[in-house]
């Protein structure tokens, strides 16, 4: 009686191979890792005619090779691994290959796969084997295809090692895939280390040479800062930041009070200085540095010297450098300006990789490793911010003392002139008085700016608490009240419908108003971009609409039929219009008769010159001259800051335009006219 077995249909090979490992580079990497595990120093991958189906790939290494038994019990067994994480190779490497599924996918790239291997332990032997995948098509179970390992005598000059040939490729390999494979190979063994005994895989295509040259550039000495953070096996951390000469800028003995429960690791991050798209370098060509960082930027992870994907791949930002940068943009590295690696010695094997080779399973050890990296980044940015702040206040003090010193020097010089006319001394004192006056005025203006900015910052910072959250709760509550009242209260329509509806309507208009401040402060509104003026006017008008409604004023918008645009920030255009509208609404408080009106009109008087008119039917300009009205701090309105129109004038000047006012314009009240050059209509 024979024993029964579960046997597998050949289709399982496709499922386990191609479906589990769709990307070519993953499969190839598995074959290369086999070479690493065999203690190879060199491993070459050669591609032949792969731009169309039918091509070939050869992977050749100078490793230990395999005996017949190893070939049979290891290489040919899918899904098992003779390697254990704890057992190291003769060279002290931690075996990197896994269950062999990636290898299966790679071997199945072609219709035929050959393996020729020359074991180190048997200097005269060579074993070869060919797998013809088409044979699997005609059998019912995998085991029905017999394979034969041929033993032969090795040529005299043939060194030990293994060669795998994939022939008759099922599909073409695109340039993108080759590039991706090249990049993965360059990064596979830590290229940031200079270890002559290291494992060096090479892809024999020109793109690889380019990439390899790029990685070997090693522009580390061009870095502005070099962060080195370490965590040892018992979870203690330390970190320092070096400048480009290797001097210690900052140092700490512990990144966190709590110990990190992760394997011991070192985190290196080199951050480069750039302004806009250009890197600031000392010796190297900025564009070389740029392409180096473009190709290899990001924080890569190496476990026992071998890279783990996808960390640091394009698009992978596992330490959230970029997100952190957004939260506090100052003095933060991003994947665009830094390059780094985390080298882990995983002696206990705490970090487990996912079967599909898409990174680590999110175990405690991995989350802790990530926390270690993130803490190091946060620490560095805190230290750097402190320095920047110190520099800033130094500059301020320096500027004031410079001016006082200069005045003193001038006074001494005048005194030293023999028989200096008294007129000169008097003139100097007049100048000095005027300068002091100007200084005091500027200080007052600065104080006003600071007060207003503080109000704005406070409003923006706490908008979430002050109105957004409160409003949200009120809206949800009134919806619940209405629903439950309808369900549980008799005579709902008689007693409750009206007050509840009124409450809902009021909340609606409150909700529309509450966003206005925050919208004015949106971050990207200060970017210099192409700004469509009509677009900004329309949006701001919509934001102001509820305010006009509240103030019982009608708002008339007359835009001419073009789309004038210029290069500036949306905030600039908003500042002009918002202040003029606020000004008009304030003036209308003093109008006793209905209706209250505000008119905004755009027109093109001269080519490429836009005129924006804001007119109201308020009392017009009284109590101040048409000149004084623009000065800071001048206001006839109770509670007015006297600053809005100053901002209008200054902003218009910045845009190269002119602002003017007519005391009693088209609607009888003040009429402001702003003329700015535009790039097109």
């Amino acid at each position: 009686m024979t024993a029964d077995h579960i046997r597998f249909a050949p289709d399982i090979l496709r499922r386990l191979g191609e479906e589990l490992n769709p990307a070519i580079d993953q499969g190839m990497l598995e074959l290369v890792k086999n070479a690493y595990d065999a203690d190879a120093h060199a491993c070459t991958i050669e591609l032949l005619d792969v731009n169309k189906p039918g091509g070939a790939i050869t992977i050749r290494d100078d490793g230990d090779g395999m005996t017949r038994a190893q070939l049979r019990n290891g290489w040919l067994v899918v899904g098992s691994s003779q390697k254990t994480a704890m057992k190291r190779t003769a060279l002290g490497r931690v075996p990197a290959g896994t269950k062999g599924l990636g290898r299966l996918a790679a071997l199945r790239l072609g219709l035929l796969a050959d393996c020729i291997t020359r074991p180190r332990s048997q200097p005269s032997r060579q074993y070869s084997l060919t797998i013809d995948w088409s044979k699997f098509a005609n059998v019912s179970v995998v085991e029905d295809v017999t394979l034969s390992v041929v033993s032969s005598t090795r040529k005299a000059n043939a060194n030990h090692g293994t060669e795998v040939r994939l022939r008759g490729l099922r599909r073409s390999i695109s340039r993108d895939e080759i590039l991706s494979l090249a990049r993965a190979l360059v990064l596979l063994a830590d290229p940031f280390d200079e270890d002559p005994a290291a494992f060096v895989p090479r892809l024999l295509v020109p793109e690889f040479a380019d990439l390899e040259a790029t990685v070997s550039n090693r522009f580390f000495s061009e870095a502005e800062y070099h962060l080195i953070a370490t965590v040892d096996g018992s979870g203690h951390s330390a970190a320092k930041v070096l400048d480009h000469r290797g001097g210690i800028l900052y140092q700490t003995k512990a990144l966190s009070a709590a110990e990190y429960q992760c394997p011991s690791a070192q985190f290196d991050l080199w951050t480069f200085k750039r302004t806009g798209a250009r890197f600031m370098t000392r010796n190297a060509n900025p564009s070389d540095v740029k392409s180096w960082i473009n190709s290899f930027g990001g924080v890569h992870v190496y476990v026992d010297g071998l890279r783990v994907q996808p960390y640091g791949n394009r698009g992978d930002d596992w330490l959230q450098l970029n997100l952190r940068r957004v939260r506090s943009p100052e003095e933060r590295p991003s994947t665009n300006n830094s390059i780094g690696r985390v080298a882990v010695q995983d002696i206990r094997g705490d970090l487990a990789q996912k079967t599909d080779r898409s990174g680590f399973i999110e175990t405690r050890a991995f989350l802790e490793l990530r926390r270690f990296g993130e803490d190091a980044l946060d620490w560095m940015s805190r230290e750097r911010l402190k320095t920047v702040e110190r520099d800033r206040s130094l500059q301020r003090t320096h500027a004031v003392s410079q001016s006082t010193r200069a005045a003193g020097q001038l006074e001494k010089a005048i005194a030293a002139v023999p028989r200096a006319p008294a007129e000169l001394g008097r003139a100097f004192r007049r100048l000095e008085r005027a300068r002091r006056q100007e200084e005091r005025r500027l200080l007052r203006e600065v104080q006003l700016y600071r007060t207003l900015s503080t109000a704005g910052i406070t409003a923006a910072t706490f908008a979430h608490e002050t109105d957004r959250t409160t409003l949200k709760v009120m809206e949800m509550a009134i919806i619940a009240v209405e629903r439950r009242a309808k369900r549980y209260v008799e005579d709902y329509a008689t007693h409750l419908e009206e007050p509840i509806t009124s409450l809902r309507n009021s909340l609606d208009s409150l909700a529309r108003l509450s966003g206005l401040t925050l919208r004015l402060l949106e971050r990207d509104k200060r970017d210099i971009i192409r700004v469509d003026v009509h677009d900004v006017i329309r949006r701001l008008s919509a934001d102001f609409a509820p305010l006009f409604e509240r103030r019982g004023a009608t708002y008339e918008l007359e835009l001419f039929g073009g789309d004038p645009y210029l290069r500036t920030s949306q905030a600039a255009v908003e500042s002009i219009l918002a202040n003029l509208l606020t000004n008009s609404l304030n003036a209308l408080r003093r109008r006793r008769q209905s209706p209250r009106r505000v008119l905004v009109r755009t027109a093109v008087m001269m080519p490429l010159t836009l005129t924006v008119t804001v007119a109201d039917n308020g009392p017009g300009i009284i109590g101040l001259s048409a000149e004084e009205i623009w000065l800071p701090g001048q206001s006839t309105e109770a509670g007015g800051t006297g600053f809005g129109l100053t901002i209008v004038r200054d902003t218009v000047h910045d845009l190269g335009g002119e602002a003017s006012v007519i005391e009693h314009g088209v609607l009888g009240g003040a009429e402001f006219r702003v003329t700015i050059p535009v790039l097109g209509n």
Binding site: N51, K52, P53, S172, S174
Partner: protein, 338 residues
């Protein structure tokens, strides 16, 4: 032949044993969803009735997705040449060409469809362009024709007849406007427009750039007089995007009082409120309005050989009676009680 419910826009897919042809590609992912739901992976020809930015966008989406192999693209007119959207299309076409060179499926690209353009699908089905005439297309967008009418991109929209075994079954109206129709009528003795099934031009919206209701009604009446459709199919979406107009339906039914009106989606003019459920007759084929319950007929399928249309008139009518209290096709039918 299927008029896919793509929301705002249109796409007609003709599937035969000899290949798949698509006329217009709708916006967004609707056509891709439809093709996936029908497991259609090879498209032999994509025809754009005209080259408005909106129509180019749909084609850019179809080519970019790479879920279907497109072997031939025929775009009518090149009025958009030089625009960013046109360059988007060219970018995708370049990519397609590179893939063809890399061993992918071969493909061809042609600009310009005018009267006389023919595309045979096997031995029985033929697509035939009835317009625009060469001289109208040659003048191009922005010029005026001999009668002084301004030529817009809709004026030179291709109008494509679908013939089965030599007899006319359907007319695909593209985005034809009143100027284009005048030229078709001019040619009508040589190329009759009569067809039992009409995929109505421009989603039933305004038929004149003057956006004038009276012009739109006259257009509908005139078009219906010459085409004499038994069924008019409107690829229209529920507003705000949609645009079928009461004048269109009124004009159509004035000329052809018994013509069946089939809209992919339910206009707000027909039902102010969205029905609580989607119509039961929607098939497995993708309909853009299915999830939001904005379908009227949804995706409409016409079997060219037999002239059978799904959904059936009876099912469709039951849904309209239940869900569309102010249905245009009922309100404007001559003799209707409403």
């Amino acid at each position: 032949m299927t008029v896919v419910d793509v929301g705002h826009g249109s796409a007609t897919v003709i599937v035969t044993d000899d290949g798949v042809v698509i006329v217009d590609t709708g916006p967004g992912s609707a056509l891709l969803e439809y093709l996936t739901s029908q497991q259609l992976t090879t498209i032999h020809t994509v025809i754009l009735s005209h080259a408005d930015a909106d129509h180019i966008r749909g084609l850019v989406g179809l080519l970019g997705a790479r879920t279907v192999d497109v072997q031939e693209v025929v775009v009518n007119a090149d009025s958009m040449q030089g625009s960013t959207t046109w360059r988007d299309l060219v970018y995708e076409l370049d990519a397609l060409e590179r893939r063809a060179k890399d061993g992918g499926a071969p493909f061809t690209f042609t600009v310009g469809i005018t009267t006389g353009y023919r595309h045979a699908l096997g031995s029985s089905i033929e697509l035939l362009a009835l317009g625009p005439r060469q001289r109208l297309a040659a003048l191009g967008v922005g010029n005026r024709d001999a009668t002084g009418q301004e030529i817009r991109s809709n004026s030179i929209s291709a109008v494509i007849a679908v013939d089965v075994n030599g007899s006319r079954v359907a007319l695909l109206g593209g985005d034809l406007d009143d100027v284009g129709l005048a030229h078709l009528l001019d040619d009508a003795s040589a190329r009759p427009l009569r067809a039992p099934f009409l995929v109505y031009p421009h989603h039933g919206g305004h038929s004149s750039h003057r956006s004038n209701g009276a012009d739109t009604e006259v257009f509908a009446r005139t078009l219906a007089e010459v085409v004499e459709p038994e069924v008019a199919i409107f690829s229209t979406s529920r507003p705000p995007a949609g645009n079928i107009r009461a004048e269109t339906v009124r004009g159509l039914l004035a000329s052809m009082p018994r013509c069946r009106v089939v809209c992919t989606q339910l206009s707000t003019l027909c039902a102010a409120a969205v029905p609580t459920t989607a119509p039961a007759y929607l098939s497995d084929a993708y309909s853009h309005g299915r999830d939001n319950h904005t379908c009227c007929a949804g995706t409409v399928r016409l079997i060219l050989s037999s002239g059978t249309l799904a959904p059936s008139a009876a099912d469709h009518w039951r849904f309209i009676e239940a869900a569309a209290p102010t249905a245009l096709c009922r309100v404007h039918r001559p003799g209707s009680a409403a």
